[in-house]
């Protein structure tokens, strides 16, 4: 058997697909554009971890405490409040969302090094191809949104199945 050069170095932790509503996906893109030129960030609260096949319930946009085009940090006080609230309601952090303003929707080495939530999805919104960023037609932009699990510094893509 020939191992592909780009094959993942460890088995996919699964599930390999996650369903998300088109309206929620649009909320992520809208928030990324709103925060441009800085990176945007937020949390999708879910019924159970993405790792266990949980469903996304709502997107909570948060302040980027780093306020930078190159870095993000979800505002720590907001993270503290959301951690308590969701835990008290038996909800979880389903996904951690952030944007890349000039690079692909793929975790950077820094993103991987700081990925402390292995059961959550890391969803990246890239505005690199966005009409707003590329000077193209803002009416027909093309941001890309991709999801990943980052487990023990290994990155695994999770296909987002968009539901109308």
């Amino acid at each position: 058997m020939v191992r592909r050069a780009d094959a993942a170095p460890s088995p996919h932790p699964g599930p390999t697909t996650a369903e998300v509503l088109a309206v929620m996906l649009q909320e992520l893109i809208d928030h990324a554009r709103l925060e441009y030129p800085n990176e945007a960030c937020g949390i999708i609260v879910g019924s159970a971890p993405a790792a266990d096949g949980g469903q996304p319930l709502r997107f909570v946009p948060t302040r980027n405490a780093a306020a930078s085009p190159y870095r993000y940090e979800i505002d720590p006080q907001t993270l503290l409040r959301l951690t308590m609230e969701t835990d008290d309601r038996d909800e979880v952090f389903w996904a951690i969302v952030h944007s890349h303003v000039r690079t692909a929707a793929r975790p950077s080495p820094t993103d991987i090094g700081l990925a402390f939530y292995p059961d959550a999805l890391y969803i990246l919104v890239s505005l690199a191809e966005d009409g707003l960023d590329a000077g193209g037609d803002p009416a027909s932009p093309a941001p890309s949104v991709r999801a990943w699990r980052i487990v023990d510094a290994h990155v695994h893509e999770v296909d987002l199945a968009v539901i109308a």
């Binding site: 940090e73 720590p76 993103d111």
Partner: protein
């Protein structure tokens, strides 16, 4: 004893506990006692040099200890600590 609340992300390393009661006169003593009980938390809380990991936030009654007296902050029996790994990253 003060109470340490364990967030879901760290619970597997703390025997599944949602909160644990730990003795200590300062935040540092409480954290050391916690790691003494659950050694697998050590790698998440502390650097190899024994410093608190820069991307772990520790709150005493909802206040970040960096704005108090860090690990020297006194604690008493009615206090609650929570340890929370940051959600952060960057393009560079």
């Amino acid at each position: 004893m003060s109470t340490v609340r364990i967030p879901p992300v760290l619970r597997a390393n703390a025997g599944g506990s949602k909160q644990v009661d730990v003795s200590g006169r300062t935040v540092g003593e409480v954290l050391e006692a916690l790691v003494g009980r659950f050694p697998s938390l050590s790698g998440q809380l502390f650097t190899p040099e024994g410093e608190l990991n820069r991307f772990v936030n520790v709150y005493l009654n909802d206040q970040d200890i960096r704005y108090l007296q860090e690990r020297s902050t006194p604690v008493d029996d009615r206090d609650t600590l929570i340890i929370l790994p940051a959600m952060a990253g960057g393009t560079l």
